[in-house]
Every structure is written in C-alpha cells, then in structure tokens.
Amino acid sequence: MSEVPWLWVENGVAAELTSLASVELKTFSAALAETTLRRLALMVIPGDGGVLRLLGLVADEGRGLVGLLSTEVAERYPSLTPSCPDLHLFERELWESWGLMPEGHPWLKAVRYPQRRHSGAAQVMPVAGTLAPWQVQGEGVHEVAVGPVHAGVIEPGHFRFQCHGEEVFHLEIALGYQHRGVERWMLEASRPRQMHFMETVAGDTSIGHATAHALVMEGLGGHEISPRASVLRGLALELERMANHTGDLGALAADVGFLPTSSFCGRLRGDLLNATAMLCGNRFGRGMVNVGGVGWDLDAAALAELQRHLRGVWRDIEGAVHLLLDTPSVLARFEGCGVLSQAQALQLGCVGPTARASGLRRDVRKHFPAGVWRDCYHSPAFQVRGDVLARAQVRWQELEKSWYYCQRWLEELPEGERVVAAAPGSRPRALCVGLVEGWRGEIVHVGVSNAAGGWAAYKVIDPSFRNWSALAMVMRGTEISDFPLCNKSFNLSYCGFDL
C-alpha cells in the first residue's frame, strides 16, 4: 500500500485546515482499516456548499502524534465497522446526525435520538429506548428490562437483558435519554457559555473536559499558559481522579456488602471534592479551568491549608482501601467477575482504567503529554486479569500515583501568571486536537474553526462512549446478579455518552 498522507499533529497544537489531505474514499477506508495504530475517531467536517468531509483520526502512541486524514462523502459509503468494530458507534452517530448511510453496518441503531440533525433539519425520532431490542427466543428464555429510571440516585439509561435463568446471553444498552445537544449547540453558543457546556458534558469530569477544551482553544489561539497555571490544572485533574476513584472503591465495597469501606469512602470522596472547592469554590471544579490559564491561584496560606487537609484525607483513604483489598471475602467476590479480555478491549477500542485493567497501557498522560505532563514522566498503572478486582486495583494504584503528584506539585508550585494576558481568539480555518486523561479515561476534543474563527465542527468524545460496549460484552455468559457489581466497576457516564 502506498504511503498514506496522514497529517500528524501533537496534542494541543493547531494545524492549518489546508494541510489536511483529502483522499479518495477507497484510500481513506483502507487507511483506517489497515492501520496498526489505534483509531481515535471518525467525524464530519461540513465543507463549503454542503459538501461533507469525513475526518478519520488515529493515535500513534509511540510517537505521541495524532494522525488525521479526510475524504469527501456523499450520502452513503461502505461501512468500516465489519473490519473496525471500534468504529461502530461513530458510524451510527454519523448516520443519525448527518444522514450518512454506512452500507453494511451490522447494528445500525439510533445512538442519542436527537430532535435535530447537525444541519439543523428537524427529524422525527422515536422516543429513546423504544427501538426493538435484539432478542433471543426459545424455551425458558426471558427478558429483563431496567430503566431508564433506575433504583438508585443515578442517571437514566435502558438495559435489556436476554436471559436463560440467571445466565445472561446478551445485554443491550440503550442510551440517549440525557441528550442535550451539546455538540451542535457549541457551533452557535457564545464562548463563555461553551465552557459551561464543557464543564457539564459529564459533571463529574468537569476538570477533564474543561481542560481538553482549553487545550483546543489555546492551540488555535497560539497561547502558552504559565507553568503555575499548568500545575494547578494538573492538580485539579488529579483531585478529580482521586475523588472519583475513592468514590468508586467505596461503591464497589457497598455492592458486595462490605460496609466499612463503603462508609469511609463515601465521606472521603466528599472530602476530596471539598479540596477542589478549596481551590476554586466549587466541589466539581467549575470555573477552575479557563482558556489561557486557571480561574484561581493559591496563596501561601491556602496552599498550606490544602496540604494539611489532603494529608489527613489520604491517611483515611489508605486505611479504608487497605481494609477492602485485605478482606478475603471481598477479593473472592471481585476475582473472576466481569472479565474483559485484552482482545475484547482492543477490538472495542477501550480506554482508561477499563483498558488498563485488561493489560492495555493506554494513558494520555504518558503517550500524549500536554501541560504539566510534559515535565512529568508517568508510568500507567495496569493489571492483566480484566475482572472487577483488576479494575479495583488499577483504581487504587492510580490513587497512589495521583497522591504522589499532588504532594510534589503542592511542595514545588512554580511561579507564573494565573492567566495569560490576552483572551485567545481562534485562528481561522485550522484544527486542533485536545487529549486529556480524565478519571474514566481518554477525553478527546477536536475543534475545527471556520473562516470567521467560529466553529465549523466541534467533537467531544467522552471515554464512556468507547467503554459502554465493554460492559455489555462482559455480561455475556455471566449471571444477571453480577450486573450491579460489573456496572459499578466500570462506572460509566450517561450524559458523557449522550452529550
């Protein structure tokens, strides 16, 4: 195969739109299908005169570069999903919101049930979750339907199990209930409001998505934030990871009836959110990440108070998690439950702790370092078994690493401006990819600016978008009573998927 004219870009560094090669559809499909690199995304850039350009992205982890390639498409194209299962949702998304038909897609169903297409045209969509699920028939086979309103305090989604007794043959996950139209609205909203969308793409990942957005904006504006701002962003991101991982370990404990850790971690998660609130006044980090820097600086007194607070919290987290991972009955319940093989994780394109628990060492902090990670060698935590225990252990290892980073940064906070002087304006007709390792995994933002400096396209990929399929896969052949524990071990976002 001849050389593919990929456009290679670094995380958070903009490139001219004209440098993006447009190739024949056949070449494009072959390049994506045959690449040995990880496929990052498939998206649309609307061109002049209603022409749609398909944009494919791949991640070259060895070189720390993202490759981009484009092609013009008409209304239909041969589906890539049969040879690239990791693209199945991307193609469904393009079909649903752009009307592009992937011919030969084996599972062409709605993703988010939007009321409008990206072109602005209204469309009549069935009510979310009402599409006929895939069914198993036969004697003794029954269906279990759960949601959209669940038993706990949790976001809505519909789960349909095909069961034979306790055994699950298949689980279909139908989402879309949370769809707020973020991506389309990004094209029209004011700049300050865009940041509020980003902070609420997945509210528990406010820092992660806000940072990815800021990377894109700063890349397009050609701005370099100060070392201090960059460390404070890193600190906020790691606090977000620590809060959520602690909460998850507590929730896993609750699901196996191990109440001490569940009770401790419920409180400790809150204490970590309070640490974020000490930084910026909001427990979820709203307003902490600004384009061009951070919303809040730390003076000496605030810094000392934060250090003191975190030291106490960390001691209690260690105590609580050691209890959990030191209790044989807990380990016995976790071990071998909900196994995601490395092959499955590869095929589905999983990211984050989910991928790392199945032996895939994917971590933006290591492979695509931006901001504080450029000066910080990160060695990703990983496990190989791919079960609930592995996902719990990866979380604990990551907590330890995050705590190490937080301590180091708080001790050696570099000098620098809170925000760089001018608010960056976007370079016209350019594109930029922003990657951040959020607590659930890799967050991808792709911004493409138009001639006026506004957005021609803005793509948001939450790690949950890739990982929900993994939850469905691990349920096959297991008992339905394992579902709550498996689900908790992934703890994916509904609104991050639904946008």
Binding site: P148, G152, V153, Q178, T200, A320
Partner: protein, 253 residues
C-alpha cells in the same frame, strides 16, 4: 474484624453537627449574591453582558435570578465597582420561583414550609425518589452524598427509595431533556398523593446552561409538574439541598 474495628476507632465519628452547628464551607465558596445598587456604576451593564446564561437583568437596579445563576462569578469579576459579591450564605432554597429574584438590599425571602397536615403526614419519614432528566451527574452526586455519614440525612428521617411507589417526594435534576420527558411524567404519576416535587439545580429550575435549547423542555421542571421547592446552584451544595428540605418540612426555621 479487628482491623475494621481499629480503623473505625481511628477514623472516629465524622457526622457533622448540623443543624446545631453551622456547616464549614471553604473560603472561596460562592453562596447568596449581594447586589449593592448604590455602588453600581454607570457601565452600561458589564455584569449582565458577562453572564453566560442571562441570569442578570441590568435595569435601573440589577436583578439577579438565582434560579438561573450558575454561581460562576463572572458578573462579580466583570463589575468595575465591585457591586456584586457572592457571600458565604448557603441557604438559597425557595418555595416559590419568584422568590429567587434577588435585588439590591433585599433580605432573602422566607421559605414557606408545607402545610401542617402534610408536615404531620411526613413526620419523621420523608422518602425521596430521584430522577435525573438530563442532569450532568453533579447535582445527582451532591444529592447522593447526603446519604453518606458526613451529612447523614437519615437522622432527619429523609432517605432515597428505589421505587416512586414508596416515595413522598420527587427530587428532579437536569434540564428535562425531550428524551426524558415521558419517563419523568410517568414517575411523577406513580407517586401516591399528596406528593412533593423538588427541583434541584439551575438546570431543573430553568434549564441552567441548557436554557433555551432545542433538545430540552422550556422552563425546567415547573413547566411540566408543580414544584414545591427550588434549590439553586450548579450544582447546589449538599448543605443547600438539605437545608431546603429541612425548612420545607419545618425541621429548621
């Protein structure tokens, strides 16, 4: 077992003494805003222009709609005369939508508790069914946290239940996406009478950042079902939500 007992003794009792003691909030917490019209300079509305969600009207005196406010502080930063400050007061909940309008020098509206019959009915058992209708999981998480030992709302007889059939109140978060409208209405119908509805967070009150969107219902939860308690914030602080419920039940004044 001894390890569990040891750790329990070491970590100790951590439930906050609220309402006996006021909760401690971080210094940078942004609670009830104070508008000082007398300080307001003639700047052609820089505060209103800075607000990403048009929560601020700049007429003769600035008026802020706490129901829409995201508490981001952009207006306070934009004001050249420092006429807007976000104070430490976390008690923001209101029983009427109109009570969320804040203007200069005006004391907070009193929250109207439920009538005596309903208060007696709920007594020391007030069960909540939570529905997220497009919420980003921040409001949900900070409602859920009330069940943890730090807040322990169970001591006031308040708890979350799994079924709307067992619930006295519906706690709704999110801007009510079109795709959740039906599920929300069905859940509401499934609650036995009399029922209480709590709209928690800027989204549930009036769309929040998603106000005016094509994929969400206009006017928040109250446009679909009658709301008894509005809890502002993005997300509301857990103390704000707990305080609102306790005042609604007449437990605190």
């Amino acid at each position: 077992m001894w390890k569990v007992v040891y750790e329990r003794l070491r970590q100790g009792h951590r439930t906050h003494a609220y309402p006996r003691l006021a909760p401690t909030l971080p210094a940078r917490f942004r609670g009830r805003p104070e508008l000082r019209a007398e300080a307001c300079a003639d700047c052609a509305g820089s505060c209103a222009a800075a607000c990403p969600v048009q929560a601020l009207q700049c007429g003769a005196v600035p008026v802020m709609d706490l129901g829409r406010c995201l508490f981001c502080g952009a207006c306070a930063r934009a004001c050249p005369a420092q006429a807007i400050t976000f104070g430490p007061d976390f008690r923001l909940a209101a029983s009427a939508r109109a009570d969320l309008q804040v203007s200069s020098g005006q004391p907070p509206h009193a929250l109207q508790p439920l009538d005596a019959v309903r208060r007696r009915l709920y007594g020391r058992s007030f069960k909540l069914r939570q529905v997220s209708a497009g919420g980003c999981n921040a409001c949900e998480a900070d409602a859920n946290v009330l069940s943890t030992l730090a807040f322990d709302m169970g001591r006031f007889g308040i708890s979350f239940v799994a079924s709307p059939r067992h619930a006295d109140a519906l706690l709704v978060t999110g801007p009510v996406t079109r795709n959740m409208r039906e599920a929300l209405l069905k859940t509401y119908d499934a609650l036995a009478e009399p029922k209480v509805v709590i709209a928690s967070g800027a989204c549930a009150i009036d769309g929040g950042p998603y106000h005016g969107g094509e994929e969400v219902e206009a006017g928040g939860v109250a446009a679909l079902i009658p709301v008894d308690l509005f809890v502002p914030g993005c997300p509301p602080h857990p103390w704000t939500l707990l305080d609102g419920m306790l005042r609604l039940l007449g437990v605190v004044g």
